[in-house]
Symmetry: C2
Subunit: 363 residues, 2 copies
């Protein structure tokens, strides 16, 4: 078994079950904390329980545990307890994102606002009003989840000074994520040919590198007493890795086999997704290529032939090569940063393994 396989196995068989167990216990306990035994409150916590526990790889809390381990942290039970704060944040942000994206499904089940919409079906209100109130309820239940996360974090028994420092970092990371989300929505309001490479990369650095990779690692490491220098290593690993992962994800989305990626064929093209592949292709395209690519992007009934035509433009303009090379360069930077680090071997192996998995996976 190579490092990538070992890391994935550990994520699935060690981290996920322990994280899920803590998450379930914390949410069960929330029911005891509810004031005024009102059905509305019990129902809200049960909805959050369903939403949190219905799936998810637990990549972020696992990074938090591994960051802690890398710098020699030994209170493993406690770091798992703290780690669920970061998984709860994912729930809170997804609940809000799903409203914004008007998504109906999340991890194979209805999104939070759709769950509330179903509850309100028998109400006397007109459909539009019900839909709006269901979104309102989902905004607020997201806010409820947001406060729970801090609670879960602060109730752990790490030293006070480390907890304050780690919560500060947790906060910073959530702020970076939300800034990334603002930029992402803003870029959606522009015609695709106005979107700049720099914006696409900034969105990846905030919404993926910071939020999913180096943020959780640093938060865990702070609880393990990490030095500034160690924190920086996690940044040097996570910042390029997050971008490499997203570039690779976009390449798979456009050129991958739908049977293997699990995404519907041509979905990125049909949705007009503003990937760097597209942004760069438009930048390099001649007038004819540009006109054609813009016509194909966001076309809901795109045919196989048209999709192939779009892919051909991405290839011909050199955008595919550009993206591949950038992803490769960034992935190497990430690996280098951690390979030379003086971390506990077990944590280091995980970071190398998971990076290899994230970059090389073809599904």
């Amino acid at each position: 078994m190579n490092l990538a396989e070992a890391a994935v196995k550990k994520l699935k068989e060690v981290h996920k079950p322990r994280i899920d167990k803590e998450l379930k216990a914390a949410l069960e306990n929330e029911k005891n904390l509810i004031p005024f035994k009102n059905d509305v409150f019990i129902d809200a916590v049960e909805k959050l329980e369903d939403f949190n526990l219905r799936g998810g790889k637990r990549l972020r809390p696992a990074f938090m545990v591994e960051g802690y381990r890398c710098v020699g942290g030994e209170n493993i039970d406690e770091i798992y307890k703290a780690s669920i704060a970061i998984e709860g944040s994912e729930a809170y942000l997804l609940i809000h994102d799903d409203i914004i994206d008007e998504d109906e499904l999340r991890r194979g089940k209805p999104t939070m606002h759709k769950m509330f919409e179903a509850d309100l079906e028998s109400s006397h209100l007109p459909m539009e009003k019900r839909k709006h109130l269901a979104e309102g309820l989902a905004i607020v239940i997201g806010d409820v989840q947001a406060t729970m996360n801090y609670d879960w974090f602060l109730k752990t028994n790490f030293p006070d000074n480390l907890k304050i420092k780690a919560v500060g970092r947790f906060n910073d990371i959530l702020r970076l994520t939300s800034y990334g989300q603002l930029l992402d929505i803003m870029s959606e309001t522009k015609p695709v040919e106005m979107v700049k490479e720099e914006d696409v990369l900034t969105i990846h650095r905030l919404k993926t590198s910071a939020y999913t990779i180096y943020g959780p690692l640093q938060i865990g490491a702070i609880l393990g007493g990490a030095s500034e220098k160690e924190s920086e290593i996690f940044y040097n690993y996570g910042d390029p890795l997050g971008v490499a992962f997203q570039l690779q994800d976009d390449i798979l989305g456009l050129f991958g086999d739908p049977k293997r990626t699990g995404k519907p064929a041509h979905s990125d093209l049909r949705e007009g997704k503003r990937t760097l592949l597209i942004v760069k292709a438009l930048e390099n395209a001649d007038a004819k290529q540009k006109e054609r690519l813009l016509a194909l992007l966001g076309k809901r009934d795109l045919t196989d032939e048209e999709a192939e035509e779009a892919r051909e433009i991405v290839r011909e303009t050199g955008s595919l090569d550009y993206n591949r090379e950038m992803a490769k360069k960034l992935a190497n930077q990430a690996l280098e940063a951690v390979e030379k680090a003086d971390f506990v071997q077990e944590g280091k192996d995980y970071l190398i393994g998971i990076a290899e998995y994230l970059i090389n996976r073809d599904v």
Copy 2:
């Protein structure tokens, strides 16, 4: 000058200017913390600055300062710095509430989602899409503000153990507020005759008593080293006072002089607001009164005569007396709780004065 006048003068002339100064400094500083000098991020912080500083009585942060003072806290500069976290929460919750309530104005200027909507006016997107994305941007900027609040709190130099305890309470209070908001929206989804007295009171206890009164007092007091017993006194003061204030507010809304209250005439009736005045009147009404009141509630073009008819039903069913008596009883409970407390006199005077102001004001 009586205690009520002195408290209001202190709120306006001492607390508000100091709180506003700290709030402005903190938001200015946020600009320095932004990663990647992108216009979108600078603009977001400037929007938050505008929103936070455009008005507001600062009742909550002032309570936090006074709670701290009541138990003998002496680091007044620092408690003002911490107090803005609670004012920032108000901004964050209002931004989200305004989306839910589809409000266009807040403190005389456009609500956050309306500000974003104006920005997107020149976009190529259709109006409905722009409106939806503007709401999404407002959800996310609210989330940005939420993380800032924790930061402002944690950066103060109170002892770590007290900060952790106080942030825990801050968290609890935000959670109670959001639970109250869930119940409030849920009650909007029911026909008014299905709304129960208990639900109305629970909403007031969560959204006003906890959020506006005893929560801020307790958070401040914890930073001043308050005992459990002292915390309880704030609860015994704030829990009834919040409800008394809301009941009184509803009475003014229905029976007050629009010239003095500043609210448009009959606005509570026209909006079909689910006040305890209405809920109790419906509960006590005979079949004819009930039918008539239900017909008048929510009537957009309600005439002066019809409004008087509704008021008459609220009087005849004994609901007005019931509400008045409950408000009076609760106000007395609140005053008693604090009168016998062993608090620093200056803080105590403020609590008594502001309670008298909140209950007796007729504007």
